[in-house]
Amino acid sequence: MRILVIEDDPMLLDGLSAGLGLAGFTVDAVATCEDAFAALETHSYRAVVLDLMLPDGSGLDVLQSLRRRRDATPVVLLTARDQVEDRIAGLDAGADDYVGKPFDLDELAARVRAAARRGAGHASAVLEWRGVVLDPAGQTVNAEGKPIALTRREFGVLRALMERPGATVSKAVLEETLYGWQEEVESNAVEVHIHNLRTKLGTSFIKTVRGLGYRLAEEQA
């Protein structure tokens, strides 16, 4: 799940990239409003973690411009200003959640997941398809009650597919989801992950839609 983190403190930004990466997110990290605008215009993110005090403006400006463009990407505000009135102002400006500094990394990850889930219209925290249960928080996958060991990328591909059951997800979207800016994408990486997933979950679990991408296969008739 690809998310954008906007935070000007270099140590915190580095920690967020590493920490949210460990929690299963693909993290793009920027430190200024300007970079944030550029990132938001060129990529689509499942969620945005936004610091309010930025060197070249307020995070609220980023949030408001996002909402003006009718972009409903869930936004979690991250700020040291966590007085009630600040939180109200942030939420009213269109934020989905508000986390005060200093925070617990796991809690932040959970809140980002929850925001992303709501943004995608899911009510349940776990994703389920034909006996396969994916828990984004625990980063675990069970098939018929038995745990399946997946790599981080495999988990990411499976989650991307399971979040939109029945929809076809293109290879490009999957790559976007899996890899941040700094990471180099090997040309056949997605194919390799799909292949591995089929080995672990059964060949008929993921269907290739030729020329378009992949989708979860319907119940076998």
Binding site: D8, M11, G19
Partner: protein
């Protein structure tokens, strides 16, 4: 005397009393002169009258030629003279030939003619004598000085008694009116003393008496300043808390990453970040304390005679890491009376800023101007965009080309420290690149 009311009362009563006393003295003197003049005229007139009565034989006396008869007592018809005036008629050869009813038996005066004063039977007399050669008599009319003095005394008493009676009344009137005059002050004091410590609303300043208005305005000004100081302190605390939360969040996040990660590289990076983060946070804390020290309103500059070159060298040595060198130029004997703590704070923060933003040469030059000293710190960094220059020394303002350890406080600390010393900090971009920070600090050279 602490009470304005008693002081006013004393002054008013004392001056009223004094004016009255002076008036009494004045009236005493002038009345005396006047009384003397009028009564002398009366004496003259009475003597002349007796003389003419004698001439017209309307007073029967034994004339000198009659021989040695006992002196006749006669009555002057005008009763008002009777009590106060005494009249004697002497023959020119020295016998008393007649006298008024209560006149003394002894001769009133030895003078032959005109006015004189004499003491007869222990009583002082003012006497007018007139000689009637035709009748061979001398008429003497005398006034008892005691009577005269009583007259003057009566006039003065007539003045002093009402004064003595009026004075207590006047005291009361003054007391009440001073009290009424002071009532706006009392009301002000009451409204102030009933306030809570946090209530710094200005006092109402409409319809104030002219005398109290300046005090109220000054007080309201003080309230405003106290309120401002308190606001500053509040916002400072909020700022400090806010600024500390971000590095704390960073530290915590990195610690959690280090705990969670199995990957050796991630693990190590997180720990390195924590170590650097602690350094940076402690520097931030130090800067916040510096700022608090500068802002402390009760701090008075401690002026010391300082040799500048030495001071700059010491600050540079404390600020720099071993591999960074700063070129320091200036005269060995540049010195002045200044506050070394504030100079150190300002200089250290400017140096840190220069070193943070510039990999190249940083130089410090010390100069003396007519007003004081000038320290110029120059770097070869990117400078500050023109748009940002006015804001560069605002608190927590961080430029876009920020150095990773910047807190946004350095230049604001420098600016405030310099302002505390009554000096100025000017930031100017250099050509072709770099920033020059000019500290002008007034000194008292000895």
């Amino acid at each position: 005397m602490r009470s304005i009311r008693s002081r006013l009362l004393t002054i008013l009563i004392a001056s009223t009393g004094l004016v009255w006393l002076l008036a009494v003295a004045w009236i005493y003197v002038s009345t005396q002169a006047e009384v003397e003049r009028v009564l002398d005229a009366r004496l003259t007139e009475a003597a002349r009258m007796v003389n003419s009565l004698l001439a017209e034989r309307r007073i029967e006396i034994a004339l000198p030629d009659v021989g040695d008869l006992p002196a006749t007592e006669f009555q002057i018809e005008d009763p008002s003279y009777e009590r106060q005036l005494s009249c004697q008629i002497w023959s020119l050869d020295g016998r008393l030939v007649g006298r008024s009813e209560h006149a003394p038996g002894d001769r009133l005066t030895d003078a032959d003619n005109g006015f004189s004063e004499s003491v007869v039977d222990g009583e002082t007399w003012r006497v007018y004598a007139i000689e009637n050669v035709a009748l061979g008599v001398r008429v003497m009319v005398g006034d008892s000085m005691a009577v005269r003095n009583r007259l003057v005394g009566d006039v003065v008493k007539g003045l002093a008694i009402p004064a003595a009676l009026i004075l207590p009344f006047l005291t009361g009137v003054i007391w009440v009116s001073v009290r009424r005059g002071m009532s706006p002050l009392v009301r002000m004091a009451e409204s102030l003393s009933s306030r809570s410590a946090t209530d710094l609303r200005p006092l109402p300043d409409e319809n104030l008496p002219e005398e109290i208005a300046p005090a109220v305005h000054a007080l309201n000004g003080l309230f405003r300043r106290v309120e401002d100081a308190r606001e500053r302190e509040k916002s400072f605390t909020a700022f400090a808390a806010h600024e500390l939360k971000t590095p704390l969040a960073g530290l915590k996040t990195q610690a959690q990453v280090a705990l969670a990660s199995q990957d050796g590289e991630v693990h190590e990076n997180a720990l390195r970040q924590i170590a650097a983060g602690v350094d940076r946070t402690s520097r931030l804390v130090r800067q916040l304390l510096d700022l608090a020290a500068i802002e402390a309103t009760d701090r008075t500059p401690e002026l010391q005679e300082a040799r500048l070159l030495e001071l700059v060298r010491r600050v540079a040595a404390e600020t720099l890491s071993a591999e960074r060198r700063v070129r320091i130029e200036g005269s060995e004997d540049a010195s002045g009376r200044l506050d070394p703590v504030l100079v150190t704070l300002a200089l250290r923060n400017i140096l840190e800023n220069a070193i943070c933003h510039s990999d190249g040469q940083v130089s410090v030059s010390i100069g003396e101007t007519s007003a004081g000293i000038e320290i110029v710190v120059e770097d070869e960094g990117p400078g500050i965009p023109v748009d940002d220059l006015p804001r560069a020394s605002d608190r927590f303002f961080r430029g876009r080309t920020k150095c990773s350890s910047g807190s946004g406080l350095g230049l604001s600390i420098a600016k405030e420290a310099v302002a505390r010393m009554g000096g100025t900090l000017i930031l100017r971009n250099r050509e072709p690149r770099g920033l020059s920070a000019i500290l002008s600090i007034p000194t008292l050279t000895e």
